[in-house]
Symmetry: C2
Subunit: 284 residues, 2 copies
Amino acid sequence: MADLVEFKQHPVDTLRVGKGFSLADADPDATPGYKGNKADGQTILAELDGALAELQEKLFAASRFGGKKRLLLILQAMDTAGKGGIVNHVMATMDPQGVQFKAFKAPTEEEKSYDFLWRIEKEVPGAGMVGIFDRSHYEDVLIHRVHNWATPAELKRRYRAINEFEARQTDAGTKIIKVMLNISKDEQKTRLLARLDNPAKHWKYSSNDLKERAFWGDYMGAYQAAFDETNTEAAPWHVVPANKKWYARIAVQQLVLGALSDMKLEWPKAEFDVPIERELVDRS
Amino acid sequence: MADLVEFKQHPVDTLRVGKGFSLADADPDATPGYKGNKADGQTILAELDGALAELQEKLFAASRFGGKKRLLLILQAMDTAGKGGIVNHVMATMDPQGVQFKAFKAPTEEEKSYDFLWRIEKEVPGAGMVGIFDRSHYEDVLIHRVHNWATPAELKRRYRAINEFEARQTDAGTKIIKVMLNISKDEQKTRLLARLDNPAKHWKYSSNDLKERAFWGDYMGAYQAAFDETNTEAAPWHVVPANKKWYARIAVQQLVLGALSDMKLEWPKAEFDVPIERELVDRS
């Protein structure tokens, strides 16, 4: 087997949105911090799954003994960028009882009758959980901005509300990782055509995809505005180049691994006397 | 690579609880219908994951176009029988957005203030979903029977209520698979001792496990009664020998595969004109 090609620089450093970040200058084809190729990426992905699974189990275990830490991964992207594949991969390595996954669709009539954060609050991860949002409250400042469904003043209110909401989650023990998967407009075309060429993928296609695609530039502007307004210390944004699916996967895996490692998780100490309990089981 | 060792008889036939079934006579060490060893089992498990993933995606896709079919896998077992590992495996192959997983713990005060099926009803799978229950409403006729928390008359009422509840799910398009993972009392001892010998597993151990273990015979009686009373055509029970974890996994995989295959699922037909749409995307 080939040697493991590791990251030279950690994605938390290379992909984190910094001061003066410009989405227009971010290259969707790049593989920041990583010199390996697709095969190397697949190897490292598989290699680190065990570590990821163990950290997630420790996080969950700690919560059974009063631990309050938890993780929330927020994924946003243009259609076909590969959110689904990333969710599948991250979740496949974890124990389902420790994961809260939520795909936010267009809001229902009931959801629309409340403030935009009402339906989000109900889905935030409990203590010990890894929460994964496939789309999120950011839709309310992305598609809403693109189609002028909200006034500039209302958008401003929402950015502020989001920052307060996310800071409150952080105060409760939640580490928030916000990820925008960055594909190019050309790459989206390739992927939409591939969907149309495969009858098993037709159900995923909607002519609405094409309608939104026409607003590409406006979406990029809305993402840039979201970064400018909501890239906080507590809940930083990361822009992950996603034209190469394998890179996006290992980058997100690194971000999640990094966040869990930073928590310095330990297995809970037994609250019982192990030798005594062992003796009791043995005689039972 | 070795040849694929397939099942000689399908678990749906060999493991299904039939008339006159006696749990006391079921061998937890057996591997009904399967002649292969552990390595063969692991090979077939991996081999069939792709088919399972495709069937699940078809089920989900159909629901986007009005399909009402769905699946509910109910797992019951004595502690350490391996429910968790089976859930992990089944879910790892599926798209998280098409899976509703629920681990039922001891009921909360609010849940206890309602009829026992109140909290269950809220978790039944939606159209197109695969629901997985780790424990279920059967706790209310198992542990409740063992500890006399319910009178015989109340238990009788619950069996009937369960049958009516499950028939209603079936009427709504739900295929129900009920599985009891059958381990021996000796095997449980081995697994509890292994937990105690591994500090990374101490958090999973509770001295309560030992307390319930003392009621082993009563639990077996409660399971037998549940089979006698709720093994309906609409929602049949399967007793899966689980002393060999690898066998339990391939057996449950077969049961889920079989149920999804029986649904005769097809990819939804495109409701748009593919060549026209292709042209529009190409020019966009």
